[in-house]
Symmetry: C2
Subunit: 225 residues, 2 copies
């Protein structure tokens, strides 16, 4: 994760509207917003630029700043984490979706200890090594978006000696009105917004006798507090 001071600096830029367009900004004014010295504000901008969180165009005196896609990703992660806390999902949600065959990378990831350990301790079940790929129906896209207001379990990313593995958010669900499992949303999403992956302690395809194109219902419970 980003250093707290940088994340807050980025956040302050978003507050100034730099998420949508370039904003004019002096290091002095930025310093005031941060409650720090001009020198430190300058340093922050340099650091953020170096990490490609922002882009700057300096014209001698005035400089214009804009948050990049990379920077927005960091803030978006934060936003999505806070959302369930402040948009208290009160209703149960049912998402309708059709089965399709993915690249079956799922089984590879699910069997990795770095993930499996977390699923077991945080979700309370040992996942079947494979994911059920679903494409959300057009009618259910409203519910799909509401999913983000529901509480989730955070799965941390990790690294082995070769590469890093990203984190994910898991939403506990009931599949086909029968099997308890979870929707897994990788934090760095690779599929489109209409695709969801579901895991469960059992082989969902077999247990629910599913084939490509079949329709399934995925139910998400409201916050239980």
């Amino acid at each position: 994760m980003l250093k707290p001071t940088l994340l807050i600096a980025l956040y302050k830029l978003a507050e100034l509207g730099a998420y949508a367009q370039e904003v004019s900004l002096s290091t002095g004014a930025f310093a005031k917003g941060l409650g720090l010295s001009q020198q430190t504000a300058s340093r922050r901008l340099i650091e953020m630029e170096r990490l490609r969180l922002i882009e700057r165009s300096i014209d001698g005196k005035a400089q214009r700043v804009r948050i990049t896609r990379v920077g927005l990703n960091s803030l978006s992660e934060m936003y999505k984490t806070l959302k369930p806390a402040f948009e208290g999902a009160k209703q149960e949600l049912t998402i309708k979706a059709t089965v399709f065959s993915g690249l079956s990378e799922g089984s590879y990831y699910m069997s990795m200890e770095g993930y499996r350990k977390q699923f077991k301790s945080k979700l309370g079940f040992d996942p079947f090594p494979g994911t059920l790929n679903l494409r959300v129906t057009k009618d259910s896209m409203i519910q799909r978006r509401e999913l983000e207001s529901h509480p989730f379990v955070n799965i941390d990313g990790f690294a082995d000696k070769d590469r890093t593995y990203g984190g994910a958010r898991c939403y506990p669900v009931v599949v086909g009105r029968k099997v308890h499992g979870a929707i897994v949303m990788p934090i760095r999403a690779h599929y489109g917004e209409d695709v969801i992956e579901v895991i469960a302690p059992e082989n969902l395809r077999r247990k629910l006798k599913l084939q490509d194109g079949d329709l399934v219902e995925v139910q998400v419970s409201p916050a239980t507090s």
Copy 2:
């Protein structure tokens, strides 16, 4: 504002669900989540408790942590700031509301240089020293809530030698299809959710010939990016 390191620590607790209920937490596990040492995580919890951002119940070994109302306020402020960036309001919004007489503290605050300076530079007009108090109609409460997805201008709080004055969010609007002004939302809200205060360069009551109970339309433009 809260120190960045504390704010992030608080945010991490929210990620663990501590906004809704007590969560069991060891300083070691928390440290891992923060990417810091166990000792520092322990110190963070102590600091947050001292500032009443969290409450802890320590039973010898296990401790349970929960974010307090105060802590949630800090996170909520953050959430509301990020919302316009990620819920991109695309439509114009019209809020219907009725005029009522407030305590007319408005004129006192509006004439304070600490606020007036900011209104002039950030909103582009010198506000008439007084606010128009409006009560949102029941039918418009949906729009009232959507307001929070719209971009706003941040007015910083400040302090003189006697007391501190809180910050506010300002949403640029058109009142009565005629006058450009802004809704002022104090960050520490004192009224209920259905009350909004509007400022403008002119006396809105006179200009629009408004009396208590009259209905006015307040239009909010979509994000212009």
